[in-house]
């Protein structure tokens, strides 16, 4: 059969992300793929240099539309380290609470996208229905569904009383039932497995070579999780498991992500149960002492790393962001080699692309 070049993206129903692929297809087989990035490159790193530390929080919140909170958290941690601020434990707990809620939100959203791409609209609708619980909690907590604007340099700007905490705990119970039910579906539903097993396989060696992070790495058997490995407060006081799978295919990634969502529900509950009393923020100076800092956090998609250099003014001299999507993008040509045309959407959604993150 003759070769066809199938363009996918930057706008395509397969891929709701501004990323362009040119797939060379023989019949139903993909033989070659070429990728083009940069459709949503906004020059955020450059913009950061022209704005104050305070303004940058809101700019960096918009790096990603899903894991917005973890970006500002990582940035604030870097700036706080430069300023030598010691954060009150309540602030750390509240930050972690939102990080975990965001992780559930991200994984539910991802499950919906995957289900949609394999033509399983019911799971798509259910996953997004249950994600709505998380969004409600976050909206109630912070005033925004995805752009929370919770972090300030020196802490957080939200607080919650006991009544609010009990409401959240109740909502978490409901959420846990739903997420565990979804986990059961992912584990047992056979048509879903038929479409995701053995697709987009990355071996442990591949993952290490390409320095892949997050659920994609964990689904290939690499046990990394910065929450645990970096011993960040308050995660060092929490009990949770880091799900790891060794199949390395999309199904393993699905399992890892949904299990992580379950673990995150447990984590949220622990955070709320052990929420220390006290202030939620400390006063931060406007001018940050000169120096440089590197901070890392575990975003829903994996390691986020920020490098911030200050020259002593109220503007950062350099902010470098590395988002986890960039690490999985580099594996895509490997994953796309010799798959069926029908599986392209599964492979692409399997790594949980966020092109806005990658392009910045």
């Amino acid at each position: 059969m003759s070769k066809l070049v199938v363009p996918i993206g930057p706008q395509h129903p397969l891929l709701k992300e501004p990323l362009s692929f040119r797939l060379t297809v023989e019949g139903e087989r993909v033989t070659e793929s070429a990728m083009r990035l940069g459709y949503v490159h906004r020059g955020i790193e450059r913009l950061c240099q022209t704005r104050t530390y305070v303004q940058n929080i809101h700019l960096l919140e918009r790096v990603c539309g899903i894991c917005s909170h973890v970006h500002t958290t990582t940035y604030c941690r870097a700036v706080e380290a430069l300023a030598g601020l010691e954060l009150p434990p309540r602030a750390l707990h509240l930050r972690a609470l939102l990080c975990e809620l965001e992780r559930i939100h991200s994984h539910m959203l991802w499950l919906g996208v995957l289900a949609r791409n394999v033509g399983f609209d019911t799971i798509f609708m259910y996953a997004w229905r249950d994600r709505e619980i998380v969004l409600d909690i976050m909206e109630d907590l912070s005033g925004g569904r995805v752009s929370h604007a919770v972090n300030v340099i020196g802490g957080v700007r939200i607080d919650l009383d006991d009544a609010h905490r009990d409401t959240i705990l109740q909502q978490l119970d409901l959420l846990e039932d739903q997420v565990e039910w979804l986990l059961g579906v992912v584990e047992h539903e056979r048509t879903l497995q038929a479409r995701t097993r053995g697709i987009g396989v990355l071996t442990l060696a591949d993952v290490r070579r390409y320095c892949v992070v997050g659920p994609v790495a964990r689904a290939s058997g690499l046990d990394i999780d910065l929450r645990r490995d970096d011993r960040q407060a308050p995660y060092d006081q929490m009990h949770y498991e880091v799900p790891v799978h060794d199949a390395g295919d999309v199904w393993a990634r699905t399992l890892v992500r949904v299990k992580e969502a379950v673990e995150s529900v447990h984590l949220c509950r622990q955070i709320l149960d052990t929420l220390p009393a006290g202030a939620v923020s400390v006063r931060a100076p406007r001018r940050i002492p000169a120096g440089e800092a590197v901070t890392r956090s575990e975003a829903p998609r994996g390691e986020v790393i920020y490098y911030v250099r200050s020259d002593g003014s109220d503007h950062p001299a350099r902010v470098k962001i590395r988002t986890p999507t960039l690490t999985s993008l580099i594996t895509l040509p490997d994953q796309l080699r010799d798959v069926a045309m029908a599986d392209v959407s599964v492979v692409l959604s399997g790594v949980d692309l966020c092109i806005a993150c990658a392009d910045r």
């Binding site: 104050t52 929080i57 919140e61 019911t122 709505e132 909206e139 604007a149």
Partner: protein
């Protein structure tokens, strides 16, 4: 065989329950939307509390606020809703607690006149 049964059993009860439970979504403009108290909606101001210090303007990441000083004690605070990112930084920066977000869900403006809103106009 057992696996095949579980495969069907995991989804069917939920689907049938859903059939009789009724929709969980709301047809938005007609249905009742659940908007929490603390939702960051439109930006409002207690005009009498504003002192024209300009802290909100300094911290606004989207340049949505503008302070026009016209001599001693005379100033105008302008707000450009189309630039606003609804981040609430101005609310946080405001030391006299004049600026605040209400929880109205529809943030956009309906007419050209509203593209520039005069929040405060103080005549000396």
């Amino acid at each position: 065989m057992k696996e095949a049964f579980r495969s069907i059993a995991c989804l069917v009860p939920q689907v049938f329950r859903a059939l009789f439970r009724g929709p969980q979504t709301v047809a938005f403009p007609f249905g009742r939307a659940n908007i929490p108290e603390g939702y960051r909606g439109r930006l409002r101001i207690h005009a009498d509390q504003c002192r024209g210090c300009g802290l909100c303007v300094r911290d606004c990441p989207a340049s949505a606020l503008e302070l026009q000083r016209e001599g001693r004690g005379r100033f105008r605070l302008l707000y450009y809703p189309h630039r606003c990112a609804y981040c609430g930084q101005c609310e946080l920066s405001c030391t006299s607690k004049a600026l605040y977000h209400d929880n109205s869900f529809v943030g956009g403006v309906a007419s050209l006149d509203e593209l520039v809103t005069v929040m405060v106009e103080r005549e000396g």
